[in-house]
């Protein structure tokens, strides 16, 4: 089958990345289709976060290709600033802008980068805030919100750009346990609405429910990939089995 027929949004081929002598990504191939939720798991330092940051152009890669919506990164008519408007990203650290209210945080991209009207963009922002249950906090500053609320706002901020694909980089890793659920519920809701997404997470229970496809990375390469159900019930490789076992007490 050709790429067009499968409606591929993101196509990564032979991606390589190293910091000095340290190789972080050593030939990674990933293909993400529209509407697909891909969950990337693996031990710390396996390169999964770096992979996401390469997709957003926050890191430069040294080998291989990244093709987003049919355009190859680094080619002539490819502009990261435009591409980032179509690739939403939510980080592990609470990354709201502390000097702006919730609404200003959400509208910064739509108004300044996408040049949309305030009326139209804020309408969408309010609708999205209602969906995550935070419409009443629209004029609050980030310091007045809990960690879980901030991450939900960060997700809304990315969604309000109407991205083609969303990247989640361990968004619950620095949250207190009781706040993890509210954030994962929001992501799950977004996935159910058909948003294309790449999720790096350590929450195996969530991965099992949310993922269409699971990619297990180790040592800068993909060690195993497959449909979520198969991967979690019957991993093919010994390494994946050992990794999954670390999450259960026996």
């Amino acid at each position: 089958m050709t790429a067009q027929k499968r409606d591929v949004i993101l196509d990564i081929k032979g991606l390589r990345k190293s910091y000095g002598d340290k190789i972080v990504l050593n030939g990674v191939d990933i293909c993400v289709e529209r509407g697909e939720a891909v969950v990337i798991i693996g031990p710390s330092g396996c390169g999964k976060t770096t992979l996401l940051r390469c997709v957003n152009g926050l890191e430069t890669h040294q080998g291989g290709t990244i093709t987003i919506d049919g355009r190859e990164a680094g080619s002539k008519n490819f502009d990261w600033i435009l591409v980032r408007q179509k690739v939403g990203m939510v980080f592990q650290s609470y990354d709201l802008f502390p000097h702006m209210t919730v609404l200003e945080n959400i509208l910064l991209g739509p108004l300044r980068a996408q040049k949309r009207t305030r009326e139209e963009a804020s309408g969408q922002a309010i609708r999205l805030l209602e969906r995550v249950g935070l419409a009443d906090r629209v004029n609050d500053f980030p310091r007045q919100l809990s960690g879980g609320q901030r991450q939900r706002i960060a997700i809304v901020r990315a969604l309000c750009m109407n991205p083609d694909i969303m990247l989640f980089d361990e968004v619950t890793a620095s949250l207190d346990p009781e706040m993890v659920r509210e954030v994962l519920d929001v992501i799950l809701g977004v996935a159910r609405q058909g948003m294309t997404m790449m999720i790096v997470t350590h929450e195996m229970g969530f991965a099992r429910v949310a993922a269409d496809k699971v990619i297990f990375m180790e040592g800068g390469v993909i060690a195993e990939e497959g449909p979520a159900k198969e991967f979690f019930t019957l991993p093919k490789t010994e390494r994946a089995r050992r990794f999954l076992n670390t999450f259960y007490f026996e």
């Binding site: 152009g57 600033i81 990203m89 650290s93 990354d95």
Partner: protein, 225 residues
């Protein structure tokens, strides 16, 4: 005949001369502060360039103004330029020049330090929503820099206002010098003149610097997050 000596402050001539001296002080302070803020911000952003030679050069410039007393710099430009280059610079000009150079160096360092103190993820999340490099600075980095820098920048301004008392050494007449002239003139008939005149000057400096530091406190409270 001894009296409280307060009448030294009731003389219109004395007050007029003190105010003229104050004008001289404030003029130098205001011009230097304005120049320092503008050039300091440019300087601070330039200093974040990855070019090590540029950074080293700035470092030397800054340290030179920190290690060598301001008075020496004033003399260097006032007498040095005349003797070495035959350029007879006015005391007023030399004062503004030295205070601006000093203020720019300190301001540049403040800006640089403050911008670097803004977490990397603030830059990244601003980039991630598709802002251009200029928009990232304009909407995310500079507003946060301003809030963080306000207390120390205002501290620098009050330090500059106070240090302007050195300008007498390059022939500029400031409020302290006028005060000393009035005190010496009244020395014999009014030994208490120094108390009243210095008290008055103290009050003036207080009236200038206190609102500035109050203002900075207010900003700090308003902008804390």
């Amino acid at each position: 005949m001894r009296n409280s000596g307060f009448d030294v402050l009731l003389s219109l001539n004395n007050l007029r001369r003190l105010m003229l001296g104050l004008g001289g002080t404030l003029e130098i302070a205001a011009v230097s502060v304005a120049v320092s803020v503008i050039l300091g911000v440019l300087c601070g952003f330039a200093m974040m360039s990855k070019n090590r030679a540029v950074y080293a050069l700035f470092r030397v410039y800054l340290e030179a103004f920190r290690i060598v007393p301001i008075l020496v710099w004033l003399f260097l430009f006032f007498f040095g330029s005349a003797i070495v280059f035959g350029a007879n610079l006015e005391g007023w000009f030399v004062s503004v020049l030295v205070f601006s150079l000093w203020g720019t160096a300190e301001m540049g360092d403040l800006v640089r330090g403050t911008v670097l103190s803004i977490p990397a993820h603030q830059w990244q999340s601003a980039e991630a929503i598709g802002l251009t490099p200029w928009q990232v600075r304009r909407f995310v980095i500079i507003p946060q820099t301003l809030r963080r820098i306000a207390p120390s920048a205002i501290n620098l301004v009050t330090r500059m206002v106070k240090t302007t008392s050195l300008v007498v050494f390059v022939g500029v007449t400031d409020i302290l010098r006028v005060g000393k002239q009035i005190i010496e003139f009244n020395m014999m008939k009014n030994p208490m003149a120094s108390f009243w005149i210095y008290g008055f000057i103290f009050l003036i400096y207080f009236l200038i610097c206190y609102p500035i530091s109050r203002f900075s406190k207010k900003l700090e409270e308003k902008w804390s997050y």
